[in-house]
Symmetry: C2
Subunit: 357 residues, 2 copies
DNA sequence: CTGAAAGCGCTAACAG
DNA sequence: CTGTTAGCGCTTTCAG
């Protein structure tokens, strides 16, 4: 009772060798039924629980897949409303878990935060057979090292061109296409002429791709805009979104007739800020987001946005990892791009309705 | 490049002993800076990733907490709408992950399915320091064995009275109170006189508690109802909910003026079935659910329900586990009951609005 | 501050 | 079908 029982204890108690105890758990059919029962009984009496660690060590595999994502807890998102606070990393978790389950794997999830030589990824990497990482969650260099040792799939954030991460499998969404289509809608169907794009200071491939889509649509429609986002925020949170909106309202010159945000969180923050200023959305200015988080449809006016297939992304990531692990696939790094869909809601002037996808 | 590098490789390459390599990762300060750098450099060059398994084995702890939940994928919930498909186990995952992160733990999640001596829990149990289980996910007996070896907290489903699981920590929600209050609302504010309760065949402590609350409220209001649920379904899915509604509509005698379901999933199914039959909700009959899943507010009419604080439940579970693990708390089994809140929406006749909680 | 040595609990050939 | 025998890669005293 004081120490945890091991195979030795079970073996002794049931009068067999430790190898047999092991077999009872790994290949039950290779042990005579009566023996098996005896072992199982002893195990039960002792309260024996096989050590996953010892197993993993001896067999060099864990039956666990991992997921690392950024510690992106937008403080303002801490509503008492659980649904609204659901971020998209939660959707990815769902997707991965479902798929992992189908393949008989469990899922280890961890958000980054700490420092030291003992970083998060390392911790996860050391306990799983393979894992997925949300882009920019961990230093590239570290990923590079780890990915030499076990399958890693990168989620979002296009593969770095000439970079060392080129041998990673990679799944992204059609950021550019989505933002282009959304912008075109604004320009063509709502007569927008002075759209302002709100991006991020830090270079994020996803955000840059979205911005390119925005520029594309503007150019195609003959709408003149700067080659740079109107504002670049530090973090894409609600607070920063509100700040950006305020900034754009107070900036000299004509106020933009559309606030095109690089993500939903910021757009939601802007919605509040504009309301505070007595501006009506979409009458006085249109607001759009990107991601399609649950909150986007709960706010008023409901947010027009581009929905990313997060759950699907998680599933694809898992499938890819499983393929790699099973050795069924050893080809060149895969780079998959998932389609997105524009969700037209009230914040751009479209009525709420079944227009959604 | 062919095999994974180990401490030995790193030690050799950096001219130190394996003990020092280990120290660099576990207690960096106990190693001279220059030595540390040398080791780290070698590790980087080699692509060294510490084995979580070996670590766990040697140190008898993993830094991982676990969560087991039922493979409860309601097929009908498989909308192409990710948000709507979000079940409450997902909320618990969120809560646990957040809390685990705060305490420096990662989270291992796994849904049940398989069989054999090698069950799910065992797998999880063997790889974590402690874990939570959604009630009735795993055989009581198995839990009993495992819980002798490491902290386990049971989620929902009240502790078994005289049963062997009495030494488990336990967190549940106020099922009875919630259902009582909701029912009272129906009776007192909406003049319901012939409410029908839809429960489950299999004995579930939670569902039974809810039913008791229902009976209580009826008795208090002087409304006569049978001492048994009007219908008991096999699984609490949308399909079964629809079937139950159909059954109650076709059953001889007066149609119920309120369908009180034991969970949201069923209620949603019923909503569709009633609509199909040309019955208006809430005018012709009132419908209520239980849980407060995201879908409940997306359906039309929006579902009046009892919201369970799922995220909070996950957090409490984690906190409890961490306390137990840190040895800070070794007292008697804790049994915590979390309050719920009635969410009045359109399906009971209350207008949609800020009446929500 | 660093090294040597002894396991942690299990799996995996290899023999019987 | 079952037992023997080596490790798997790391942590951890205990000495230096």
């Amino acid at each position: 009772m004081t120490v945890t029982p091991t195979v030795y204890d079970v073996a002794e108690r049931s009068g067999v060798s430790i190898a047999t105890v092991s077999r009872v758990y790994r290949t039950p059919d290779s042990v005579r039924a009566s023996t098996r029962e005896r072992v199982l009984a002893a195990a039960r009496e002792l309260g024996y629980v096989p050590s996953g660690n010892a197993r993993g060590l001896a067999s060099r595999s864990t039956g666990v897949l991992g997921l690392c994502f950024p510690d992106y807890a937008d403080p303002a998102a801490d509503t008492d409303d659980d649904d609204a606070a659901m971020l998209y990393s939660d959707q990815i978790i769902r997707g991965m878990e479902r798929a992992a389950r189908r393949h008989g794997y469990a899922l280890l999830i961890a958000a980054s935060l700490q420092g030291g030589p003992e970083s998060l990824v390392a911790k996860v990497a050391g306990r799983v057979d393979g894992f997925a990482v949300l882009a920019r969650t961990v230093p590239t260099e570290e990923l590079e090292v780890i990915s030499r040792r076990r399958p890693v799939v990168m989620l979002a954030g296009p593969r770095e061109g000439t970079d060392s991460l080129d041998h990673l499998d990679h799944i992204e969404v059609a950021n550019e296409d989505g933002q282009r289509e959304l912008t075109r809608h604004l320009l063509a169907d709502h007569g927008i002429r002075r759209p302002a794009y709100i991006g991020m200071i830090e270079e994020s491939p996803d955000v840059e791709a979205r911005f390119r889509g925005f520029l594309d649509a503007c150019r195609d429609a003959g709408v003149e805009v700067a080659g740079e986002p109107a504002v670049r925020v530090g973090m894409m949170t609600q607070a920063e979104g509100a700040r950006a909106a305020a900034l754009l309202c107070e900036r000299p010159g004509e106020r933009p007739d559309a606030f095109v945000f690089a993500n939903d969180q910021m757009a939601v923050g802007a919605l509040r800020e504009l309301e505070r200023r007595g501006l009506r959305v979409p009458e006085d200015a249109v607001v759009t987001g990107f991601d399609g988080i649950p909150l986007s449809r709960l706010v008023r006016p409901a947010l027009t946005t581009v929905r990313q297939p997060m759950v699907r992304m998680g599933e694809e990531a898992t499938d890819l990892l499983v393929q790699r692990l099973s050795g069924r696939y050893t080809g060149a790094p895969v780079s998959r791009m998932l389609p997105v869909s524009v969700v037209r809601r009230a914040s751009c002037g479209c009525a709420e309705g079944r227009t959604q996808s």
